[in-house]
């Protein structure tokens, strides 16, 4: 068994070296495919970060009537916190709302004067509610439209933001589904291109394969070196795609970090380097080995 494995590996290296140009072409195609996959992988992270930032900005605000008793408002807060859809509820009392308003308009003398002339606090207390998923705001809004709350609640802002929230939810969903479809499509295209390139390499060795069959080599022995060479293509292509990606990531990182809040693209790339390399290797090896395996099938029929 060890002897057979050793010989398969030896012939695999020989096939790789002897078909220098075809090996280079196959690796070239694989590098393109793996770079595209890496880009999809990285853009998925950028998209996720951007979406989290956008999602974070979406909330529902419940404005209470100025006459609403505080313990009733806090009870509603607690009941909202008990909902599975709700991630966080922040209570802003009338006093805090006034303080925030004053802080915001600190430099505007006219507004400050108008507020002090009113004599009493005109602002209502409110609850800012954040859901785990933007799609869940409709359910929370439904909960808040209960008639029992009419005496307490002045207005719910969801109705005003509903269109924006729903549209954002739709965009998020579409982008994620689109990414999946694109990944699947590219996998098939890359697989076919690599399969054909490897088939060409195998075709150029058909005489050798014929002689192997003639002298009684088993299918595993004939196929083995080509599958091994395919794995070698995958490993090299994965390493090269990562080496090519690094300077590109470092170059675009400062621009992307400005564009997307909370994004630190370079740090993410460096921290995820082992995992990304593992993905690239797994995909490269799978593409190389599977393509070689199937490309050999025709030559093993006789």
């Amino acid at each position: 068994m060890f002897t057979v494995l050793f010989r398969i590996t030896k012939y695999g290296f020989q096939n790789f070296a002897r078909n220098g140009l075809l090996s280079a072409a196959t690796i070239g195609v694989m590098i393109i495919a793996l770079t595209v996959f890496l880009s999809i992988n990285l853009s998925h992270y950028i998209m996720e970060t951007a979406l989290i930032a956008v999602k974070d900005k979406i909330d529902i605000s419940v404005y209470f009537k100025t006459t609403a008793p505080e313990d009733e408002m806090l009870r509603l807060k607690r009941s909202l916190e008990g909902l599975v859809e709700v991630k966080d509820v922040e209570y802003i009392s009338r006093d805090k709302a006034l303080q925030l308003f004053k802080d915001k308009h600190e430099s505007d003398a006219t507004i400050n004067q108008a507020v002090s002339e009113l004599g009493e606090n005109p602002l209502s207390a409110s609850l800012n509610i954040k859901a785990f998923d933007p799609k869940q705001y409709a359910a929370i809004s439904e909960y808040l439209s209960d008639n029992a709350l009419n005496s307490l609640v002045d207005k719910v802002t969801f109705a005003q933001n509903q269109t924006v929230i729903e549209r954002l939810s739709l965009i998020i969903d579409t982008l994620q589904k689109g990414g999946l479809v694109l990944t699947a499509f590219l996998s098939v295209v890359a697989g076919l291109v690599i399969y054909n390139t490897i088939r060409l390499a195998i075709y150029s060795n058909r005489e050798e394969i014929g002689i192997m069959r003639l002298v009684g080599a088993s299918n595993t022995f004939i196929r083995g070196p080509y599958v091994f060479a395919g794995i070698l293509y995958g490993v090299i292509a994965a390493a090269v795609s990562m080496i090519l990606a690094a300077p590109a990531v470092f170059f675009v990182s400062p621009y992307l970090d400005v564009f997307v809040p909370n994004l630190n693209f370079k740090n993410y790339f460096l921290a995820s380097l082992p995992v990304l390399m593992l993905y690239q290797l797994a995909l490269g090896i799978a593409l190389g080995a599977v393509s070689s395996y199937f490309a050999m099938r025709k030559h093993l029929r006789v």
Binding site: T3, V4, R7, R18, E207, E208, G210, I211, M212, R213, L214, V215, G216, A217, S218, N219, F221, L300, R301, V302
Partner: protein, 227 residues
């Protein structure tokens, strides 16, 4: 023992290679298959190594029924048969030693045995001093001797030679035939497909004559007679 029992090979309505042929070859025999081009000699050899399947009939080799053999069992069958071709079919980027060793490597022989057997086989075919030469550095006769060494290296029960002298000059032709006779004397069955009249008439061994896919003559000490 090799047996062809009512074997036909029909490729299409207009292309048939063999028609209901029946013969038997005993161990240690030296049998020549003769016939014009297209008579069906190569098809007989292809059927024997399982490269083709018969349309009808049975092909038997020892305990194998070749006509029904599974793909996975073909390599094992082929390790019992050494094959020699007119065009040598050597690996161009391997030297004589590596070409012969290749047959043992694919069969899983340990390296120590390969190191012992390959020089012996090359010495036997008279190429002890040409082991490191590549096929491009060898003459036609030398290439064919490398092919013979490769075919016999794993001590097969049968050597099958398809026009092995077709590309050789008269001197080399007789050298190759002498080698095949020597291999036969050592206990290996030899099946020689040829249309060389001189060889057949000088051998004085069994001759099966094919014409248009039919066995028209099978003689113990045959001569080259095509009609």
């Amino acid at each position: 023992m090799i047996a062809f029992q009512n074997v036909s090979k029909i490729y299409s309505e207009h292309a048939s290679a063999l028609h209901d042929i029946t013969f038997k070859i005993d161990p240690n025999e030296f049998v020549s298959l003769v016939g014009k081009s297209g008579a069906g000699k190569s098809t007989v050899l292809k059927l024997l190594i399982g490269e083709e399947n018969p349309t009808k009939g049975r092909v038997i080799f020892g305990s194998y029924e070749v006509s029904k053999i599974k793909m996975s069992a073909l390599p094992r069958l082929r390790r019992h048969i050494g094959v020699i071709f007119q065009d040598f079919r050597l690996l161009p980027n391997r030297n004589a030693y590596e070409n012969v060793a290749f047959a043992l490597e694919v069969a899983g022989y340990p390296q120590s045995e390969i190191d012992e057997l390959v020089p012996q086989a090359l010495h036997m075919v008279g190429l002890g001093n040409r082991m490191k030469n590549f096929p491009s550095e060898l003459s036609g006769g030398e290439k064919q001797r490398v092919a013979i060494a490769r075919a016999m290296i794993h001590r097969p029960e049968v050597i099958m030679a398809d026009e092995p002298t077709g590309n050789l000059d008269p001197f080399n032709k007789w050298e190759i035939i002498k080698l095949l006779e020597k291999i036969n004397q050592l206990g290996t069955t030899v099946i020689l497909a040829t249309h060389d009249k001189d060889i057949i008439n000088n051998l004085g061994r069994r001759v099966i004559t094919l014409d248009a896919g039919r066995v028209i003559r099978d003689e113990e000490k045959g001569k080259f007679i095509l009609v």
